[in-house]
Amino acid sequence: MYSKEIQKKLKDLGVEIGDSVRVKRGDQVYEGILMPKEELGDSNAIVVKLSNGYAIGIKFEGAELEKLSGHRQIGFKSSDEKIKHIAGKPLISIISTGGTVASRVDYTTGGVQASYNASDLVSIVPELGSFNINSKFLFSMMSEDMTAEHWKEMAKAVYKELKTDTSGIIVTHGTDTMHFSTAALSFMLKDLNKPVVFTGSQRSSDRGSSDSFINMICSANFASKSDVAEVSLVMHGSSNDDFCYAHRGTKVRKLHTSKRDAFKSVNDEPLAKIFPDGKIEMTNCNYRKRCDGEVSLDDKLEEKVALIKTYPGMDPGIFDFYIGKKFKGFVIEGTGLGHVPTTIEGRSVIPKIREATKAGIPVCITSQCLFGRVHDFVYANLRKEFEAGAMFCGDMLPEVAYVKLMHVLAHSKDLEEIRKMMLTNIAGELNERTPVFEL
């Protein structure tokens, strides 16, 4: 943002962002378009985009500003054009919730905006032109800001689309918490009959090298052609632009901050390999098939669940904090096979597990190793944890256990029933066997 002083001066001169201006400072004269100032940089320097396309910052102090004729529309204007559906093309639904996949850039400011109407989408990814598209704008959220409320709205929107004659649904999403959302929808959409595919991008689509094009194309193909009636996540399968993986929504995690292939299947094989030319190669034969059955929506969630990571030197008092705030359930991200600090008095988490369990608050154990399963017996300390009442969640990912516990607590208050539900597979989140090789 520009400083108050600059803002006032601009107002007095009737100059708006996007206007052509002349700036004189000393013996230097600059002409160009007045640019907005983002949150970074010197708020006392005005930014002007010169006729050669470059922008420069000019200190405002001692500068003279003059408005010239000419104004550039700043910000991207979405197309009003409606695309008619053409018989014979497969129908897909695209629900946009945010993120930079299929986004447009405002080439004046560099700002990126999500697109959501069908003609915008096709203008960005022309390959989508071979589909009939129902596009829905749900919200434009940074994925780190999402809450259980957003998952519910997403689930409702997807449920509504599932009731149409669409062949599959794509949900565009910011990447950071996409795997929480896929887990949430996996539990909330019962008896799925069509593919529900989440996708996003690690590089925004203003650049020719964006992963977003291939992610969108592969998602569209997977949503329309595959017979996988599950919630899946489709993103780049490698650092090359060669194929995408479809990961099961409950067995996937973002494992890199920035790479194209940041998402990996954990403790499960990916469902399929999808190539940009439309070819789909199944890599996992264990999945729910497309069917004519009725899908149902079960969007109740208990939000007072905490995900707690244990680490050397942690203060067990954190549990008291949450219990004091009337939390109804805990998921612990333990170390190794699911350990928590056990033997040193005052540092041990075991009494907290016992207290919580006695109070009817379930304590679920997962591992911060992510890969592999937890175990309640192989070490004495694990046995103590188990005896205190902890529920060991097999090979379930911590984030998935967190979402599942929210779902389970919304359906039962009985600790034994909760234990049974947590340890029974609902949506592919629990596997009996661990694959030998990671794909």
Binding site: G53, Y54, I56, F76, S209, R260
Partner: protein, 598 residues
């Protein structure tokens, strides 16, 4: 004529512009590759950039080579850029000051769309550091328009069907770009300006040396001509030729336009029909023509024009061919103004061809061979270029050929190519910091000063040499005689390198050690090549140990006296005494000292 140049110079920083990788391109073999696609994206105002679209239409895949020390996730476009390298920024500001350019108050990093695949991201990061400025030349002042700091692109390794391979070691090395105003008067002047800018850059002592570290682009237009950017001149010696040939090319194209106006008057040139002529050449003596498909096109009223020479070895026909090559990927085209015997094509075949496409004596024709789709695209490109002949020269980017001629590369990019790089925050430039930057001596001043202690030849060699800072240190701090230091650094080392001695392994410290030991009287000047030969191959060894191992210690006065006495006893005349001793002990005896002893 209007002419300006753009100089691109790699900076000798430790690290790259936006990541922690080494800025020294690697000599190693690649350890892996990644494969990527790139596509044209909408530009400013929603239009896809023309230049970008052109590259996209060629539908390529890109393979990028990864090197251990010079590639990280930033080069792979798998991690956002780090903040801008301060060392590079300081050098760029220094260049601005040397060229009288005004440094901006805040640097805004931009993305410049590049879609030939040479940047993994699809854009090059670039920013204006200085605006305005000038240099003085023999033909008056030449203005500077802008000085930018940007990322070097990847180096091309090779190209095969639909796939280009690039190496990532070069990508992201800091590059200073200096663009002059179109103030250059003629071809010779262009060379002078390029030379002068190169000297000023080297005067900073902070630029990379060697092949490919500096490149010139030349913008040329003649009256009634067009703006043409000639890319990638690496040799200064070629600049005059490039300018000269491009001026002639444009002037000739203006003449051809005039000729076409005369021939056509008010008639319009109709887009010619494409005719299949495969049958005519079914039994051709030319292997080139025995292809799946041969297509031909009549160019009404063009007889003789395709053969018009623009400059040596370039005709209008060559320009048509360039288009077909660049846009359709064919090897070339055949046209009626060529010596058709060379293919060979017989007179009878030409007759049948002309008959089939209805080409009379005033008409020219163009013929292409290959698969049908490629041939169609090639003729479309030819047709596009033919229509342009009616308008004269076109705004375009051309690439330099080895003989200083040029060939068509792509259309001139529109202004849609730049938009803000939102991953890098703007950088405030403090006036105080700029004022505190110590500027190097300018070439003229340095030369004048050196001429007091060196002859002209040595002064010119050392003044812009990479070894200049070491020269200053040795002469200034050790007080070693300047001529000797310059000779050692600029002549002895060079002749050793020619012999194949790996002198590039000798760093500044090692050479400093050499001069220190010399100053202490450990050895004589004549011993230096021997010593350097040894330590180049074994840089771990100290200079003094090398001298001892080689038994090259300078002879002490006592030893010298003893030899003189012996020689005298043996009856050597005092006339030949010095000569004889020097002949036998040249590497260990200082002639001056010897004459003192005698």
């Amino acid at each position: 004529m209007k002419c300006g140049i753009e100089i691109h110079q790699r900076l000798a920083t430790e690290k790259k512009l936006f990541c922690g990788c080494s800025a020294q391109p690697s000599e190693d073999k690649p350890i892996a590759t990644v494969e990527r696609m790139q596509r044209a994206v909408a530009g400013e105002l929603g239009d896809v950039d023309l230049a970008a679209l052109h590259e996209y239409s060629r539908g390529r895949k890109y393979r990028y080579q990864i090197f251990p020390q010079t590639t990280c996730l930033v080069e792979l476009d798998e991690e956002p850029p780090h903040s801008m390298n301060g060392e590079a920024l300081e050098i760029a500001v220094e260049v601005c000051l040397l060229l009288n350019s005004k440094v901006v108050d805040e640097v805004e990093v931009m993305r410049k769309t590049v879609i030939d695949g040479s940047n993994t991201s699809g854009f090059q990061r670039t920013s204006i550091i200085g605006l305005g400025g000038f240099i003085e030349t023999s033909k008056g002042r030449v203005g500077i328009e802008a000085i930018c700091l940007e990322e070097e692109s990847s180096g091309i390794v090779g190209e095969k069907a639909g796939e280009i391979t690039y190496r990532l070691d070069r990508l992201g090395i800091p590059l200073v770009e200096i663009a002059t105003s179109p103030d250059i008067k003629d071809a010779k002047h262009a060379r002078e300006v390029a030379e002068k800018l190169g000297m000023i850059l080297r005067a900073t002592g902070k630029v990379q040396r060697g092949i490919g570290t500096i490149r010139q682009d030349i913008n040329i237009s003649v009256p009634e001509g067009a703006r043409v950017e000639v890319k990638g001149a690496q040799e200064l010696g070629l600049i005059e030729t490039i300018v000269d040939k491009e001026v002639r090319r444009q002037e000739k194209l203006v003449k051809i336009k005039g000729e076409l106006e005369k021939r056509f008057g008010k008639k319009r040139f109709e887009k010619p029909a494409v005719v299949e002529v495969t049958e005519i050449f079914k039994n051709s003596a030319s292997k080139l023509l025995r292809k799946e498909c041969l297509l031909a096109m009549k160019l009404t009223n063009f007889a003789g024009l395709l053969g018009e020479e623009l400059y040596e070895n370039r005709r209008l026909g060559t320009e048509l061919s360039d288009y077909a090559v660049a846009k359709a990927g064919v090897g070339g085209i055949i046209h009626s103004d060529e010596k058709l015997e060379k293919y060979p094509i017989s007179g009878e075949e030409v007759g049948r061809l002309r008959e089939k496409i209805g080409a009379g004596a005033h008409d020219a024709f163009v013929l292409v061979a290959g698969d049908r789709k490629t041939c169609m695209r090639a003729l479309e490109a030819v047709c596009e270029r033919v229509l342009q002949a009616f308008e004269g020269p076109q705004n375009e980017v051309r690439k330099v050929l080895p003989d200083g001629g040029t060939s068509y590369m792509r259309p001139m990019p529109g202004s849609a190519r730049l938009y803000p790089e939102t991953d890098v925050p703007p950088i405030e430039i403090s006036r105080k910091w700029v004022e505190g930057i110590k500027l190097p001596e300018m070439p003229e001043e340095r030369k004048a000063r050196l001429l007091k202690i060196l002859n002209e030849e040595l002064a010119e060699k050392i003044m812009l040499s990479e070894n200049y800072p070491l020269f200053e240190k040795v002469v200034g701090e050790l007080k070693v005689e300047a001529k000797f230091v310059a000779t050692t650094l600029e002549e002895t080392l060079v002749s050793l390198r020619r012999e194949g001695v790996p002198v590039e392994k000798l760093n500044e410290n090692k050479l400093m050690e050499l001069f220190i030991e010399y100053k202490c009287g450990k050895f004589v000047k004549a011993a230096i090549p021997e010593i350097l030969r040894r330590v180049s191959k074994n840089t771990g060894e100290s200079i003094s140990s090398a001298v001892e191992k080689l038994k090259l210690e300078k002879m002490g006065e006592a030893e010298l006296r003893k030899i003189v006495e012996e020689k005298k006893k043996a009856g050597v005349s005092s006339k030949t005494l010095i000569q004889e001793i020097m002949r036998e002990h040249r590497l260990r005896v200082d002639a001056e000292e010897l004459s003192k002893v005698i």
